[in-house]
């Protein structure tokens, strides 16, 4: 199994209240996936596993976290493409030579969506963009997994992630955008969980507290 599907299950204990009909593997306690046929038997108490043992969770594309959990996935393979000026440079070359620009132009889109606006249908973290490149997407994005070496897909992901960075946009001048891509800071992809939108004035401290205290 690819390491990008492995997630450290450490963290706060979770509640499975109201979730007994769901697969055990969805519970934070890190249960192993149910055996075939397990659905027909009463739900057994989850078997705890060592905190260090990773569980399968895929690359998570949603901020909606059932039972108040943070589902952020961390793919260790992404690490070396952050803060990496070479990665975005190589990615820029590939973006043109593999005809990405044919649909996305210089990030402004056309046949395919804009990449300049920091709006991501399938997630904008490096590992999510990488996953989109590998798997393709149903509304017209081709699947490049196996077509290009994985390292090149990560470089492409870094360039795509860079396009909407303020630093890259600021470098546009009067010409085409995305010509001087800034390296992708690790911090932009950190997941801080749910937060009040910037510029709102309500006190969200109570909102942020779950039934059992802050997450």
């Amino acid at each position: 199994m690819s390491s990008r599907f492995l997630v450290n299950s450490g963290g706060s204990p979770i509640k499975c209240v109201g979730l007994t009909l769901l697969l055990l593997s969805g519970c934070e306690t890190g249960a192993r996936p149910s055996a075939p046929g397990a659905q027909s038997t009463p739900v057994a108490p989850a078997t705890p596993v060592a905190a260090a043992e990773p569980i399968y969770r895929g690359v998570v594309d949603t901020a909606l976290a059932p039972a108040g959990r943070n589902l952020t996935t961390i793919d260790p393979r992404a690490a070396k493409y952050y803060d990496n000026p070479e990665a975005v440079k190589v990615g820029k070359f590939l973006f043109s030579s593999m005809n990405c620009a044919g649909c996305h132009t210089n990030g402004g889109g056309g046949m395919a969506p804009s990449l300049l606006d920091n709006q991501w249908i399938y997630g904008g973290r490096l590992e999510q963009i990488h996953q989109t490149l590998v798997e393709g997407r149903p509304n017209g994005m081709p699947a490049w997994g196996g077509v290009l070496p994985d390292d090149q897909l990560w470089n492409l992901a870094a360039y795509v992630r860079s396009m909407s960075l303020p630093e890259t946009l600021a470098a546009q001048g009067s010409g085409n955008p995305s010509q001087s891509p800034a390296p992708v800071p690790r911090a932009v992809d950190a997941d801080t969980g749910w937060a009040a939108p910037a510029g709102t004035t309500n006190d969200y401290s109570e909102t942020l507290k779950g039934p059992d205290g802050p997450q």
Binding site: T105, G108, G109, G110, N139, P142, P166, L169, A187
Partner: protein, 631 residues
């Protein structure tokens, strides 16, 4: 929480500061218009090469191809002559100002709506942009309620091979069936009474970059369909299906060996440059014809007088012409074929070795016209390359070619050879920004069809006034991805108005009048026996003009820009109605309907540069509007 800080730095603080920092502004404003001095005048080119003939009289529709109007509108072009002329007279220059909407209908699809509504048997049929839903509306009941709908569910990935929005140009009713195409390459016939499919035929393959957007032509028991994908290195074709069961009767490729192009002893092109063996192979670098475009995404005519079909072929691919030296037969030209066998009869190439994306797919209107003192059976064809061609439809000889919009990429058409005279200053090159090329890649006019009135003898041409900067870029072919190789930035043509409605006199070879529009006129036109011409604008006005003078008569603001084909029909109550779809989009409207960012002027293959202000004027939409006079 797994990651609350990175390198000891507060992530939240970083994110908030990034969000609050003022975004850089790019003020992607519409470029300045190209100066008038950059383009040739009509007198400098067209007329210098072929003096205006002293012809008098008037053009008339080819009568066998434009039968008496029954008040219906069964095909987008109205009739085989493609006059888009309605004989109804209730709406006139006197009464038009009283026009009012009588019903509307939401298409539930907010993409470019380029189709013509179809009216047969007191029912209106509409096919939407992707996902190509078909609606049947009952015109006999108040508010024209829905009779049925049909959802063909084209594969969503087909959106990824549609070059210029996910449009559809309409269906046709024939023999109790509504026949239309889907973006993912199907042709479907629906029973007009039940709304169920009679047959479905898969013709295109999205994994080769093929899609279908054109309106099929149905004639003499055959359905003619061509593919789209000239920006994805497809190999273009026209296919004839049996109208009864959808089975393929023949397919003619528009490039490749003669056997594939259906060229044999019947083929009698007028010009010597089109004579030879396997020109569809030898006028290309090795094997380049296999990925050379030459699609057939525009209009097909059937000529009942000469029993021929006519259609134009699309641009050669890639756009970077330096990668395909040669004339690139049979791209960017006009075919005449035998409808029974598909065998080619003649071909004429508007733009040999096209360097500017000048597809040859625009409409042709079949007329009988005085030329050089005698009546001739002709087609008139306003091409993307800026010339309005009058072509003898028996022989393929060009009788005249006059610029109807700004032109500087060529200096006229040499009528001895049929070839345009290339302006070397506007040839495209790798690594060089060639400035101010006119017309632009989308042409002095794109797909949106003209209409012709036998009462005025004028052709009502909806078109563009745009130019462009172009730099070739090396490009590799990867199946299913774009194969373009050009960095294009479009801009307004001389005067700054990006659109024009021109009433053109094909006999005297000059405009009778023109109406300037801010945005490209990307809708079709319809003209009526009441001497009213209707068209829509991309900023959302549906307009009526006097067909004799161009004077504005009436306008109505709809919900979104108009890029569709208006029609006029007689309702069940005997009164005249006018119908049009709103819903801005298509190539020119992609900056509104598409997932496009106007900070990138090259986006939508260069169109965004010229259209970046459209979002200030129109939002996306998709609505049927029907108008009539109050009673």
């Amino acid at each position: 929480m797994q990651t609350s800080s990175v390198n000891g730095r507060s992530v939240t603080a970083f994110l908030v500061s990034a969000m609050l920092a003022p975004l850089p502004t790019f003020a992607q404003s519409v470029p300045a218009p190209v100066p008038q001095s950059e383009v040739f005048t009509r007198e400098q080119i067209g007329h210098a090469l072929a003096k205006p003939t002293p012809d008098v009289g008037r053009a008339a529709p080819s009568s066998a191809n434009a039968p008496r109007d029954d008040g219906q509108w069964s095909m987008p072009s109205k009739n085989y002559a493609a006059t888009r002329f309605s004989s109804l007279t209730e709406i006139s220059p006197t009464t038009a100002k009283k026009l009012q909407p009588v019903f509307t209908f939401s298409l539930a699809v907010n993409k470019g709506q380029e189709a013509a509504p179809i009216v047969v048997g007191n029912t209106m049929y509409i096919v939407t942009a992707y996902p190509n839903i078909v609606y049947a509306l009952d015109l006999t009941r108040p508010g024209a309620p829905l009779k049925w709908r049909f959802s063909p569910q084209p594969v969503p990935a087909s959106q990824g091979v549609a070059c210029c929005d996910v449009v559809n140009r309409g269906g046709t009713v024939s023999d109790g069936k509504f026949i239309f195409t889907t973006l993912d390459g199907q042709v479907i016939a629906i029973d007009v009474n039940t709304g169920r499919s009679v047959w479905r035929t898969q013709l295109g393959n999205i994994n080769k970059g093929e899609s279908i957007t054109m309106a099929p032509l149905v004639a003499k028991g055959r359905v003619y369909v061509g593919n789209s994908g000239g920006e994805l290195g497809v190999r273009g074709w026209l296919t004839a299906l049996d109208e009864k069961d959808g089975k393929v009767v023949w397919r003619a490729y528009n490039a490749g060996p003669d056997a594939d192009v259906l060229i044999s002893s019947q083929f009698k092109p007028f010009y010597s440059g089109d004579k030879g063996t396997d020109l569809g192979v030898t006028t290309w670098p090795t094997d380049a014809w296999k990925i050379g475009g030459s699609t057939a995404w525009g209009w097909v005519n059937y000529d009942a007088e000469l029993d021929s079909i006519y259609y134009g072929s699309g641009n050669p691919g890639p756009w970077n012409a330096e990668q395909r030296p040669g004339d690139n037969k049979w791209t960017a030209g006009m075919f005449s074929r035998d409808p029974a066998t598909g065998q080619a009869r003649w071909f004429y190439q508007f733009s040999p070795h096209d360097e500017h994306d000048y597809d040859g797919v625009n409409e042709q209107i079949l007329l009988d016209m005085p030329f050089a003192g005698k009546m001739q059976k002709v087609m008139v064809h306003p091409d993307r390359n800026g010339y309005l061609y009058v072509i003898n439809r028996s022989t393929g000889q060009v009788l005249s070619a006059d610029p109807y919009g700004p032109v500087n990429s060529t200096k006229g058409v040499d009528l001895a050879t049929g070839r345009p005279i290339i302006n070397p200053e506007k040839e495209t090159k790798v690594g060089v920004q060639v400035r101010n090329i006119c017309p632009t890649a989308s042409g002095a006019k794109d797909w949106n069809p003209s209409s012709f009135s036998p009462r005025t003898g004028l052709l009502y041409i909806p078109h563009e006034n745009m130019c462009m900067d172009w730099m070739n870029v090396a490009v590799s072919y990867i199946a299913g991805t774009p194969y373009v190789g050009a960095d294009v930035h479009m801009k307004p043509g001389p005067g700054g108005n990006r659109g024009v409605l021109t009433a053109w006199d094909p006999v005297r070879r000059r405009p009778a009048w023109e109406v300037k529009e801010n945005f490209p006129v990307w809708s079709g036109t319809v003209v009526t026996a009441g001497d009213v011409v209707f068209y829509g604008t991309m900023d959302g006005w549906f307009k009526a003009a006097n067909a004799r003078t161009g004077a504005a008569l009436w306008r109505f603001k709809v919900d979104s820009g108009i890029v569709g084909q208006p029609i006029s029909y007689r309702g069940p109550d005997g009164h005249q109605y006018v119908a049009v779809l709103s819903g801005v989009g298509g190539w020119a409207g992609a900056v509104v309907s598409g997932p496009v960012d106007r900070r990138d002027g090259a986006a939508a293959i260069g169109m965004v540069s010229a259209m970046s202000d459209l979002p200030k004027y129109s939002t996306a939409g998709g609505t049927l509007y029907v108008f009539s006079l109050p009673r």
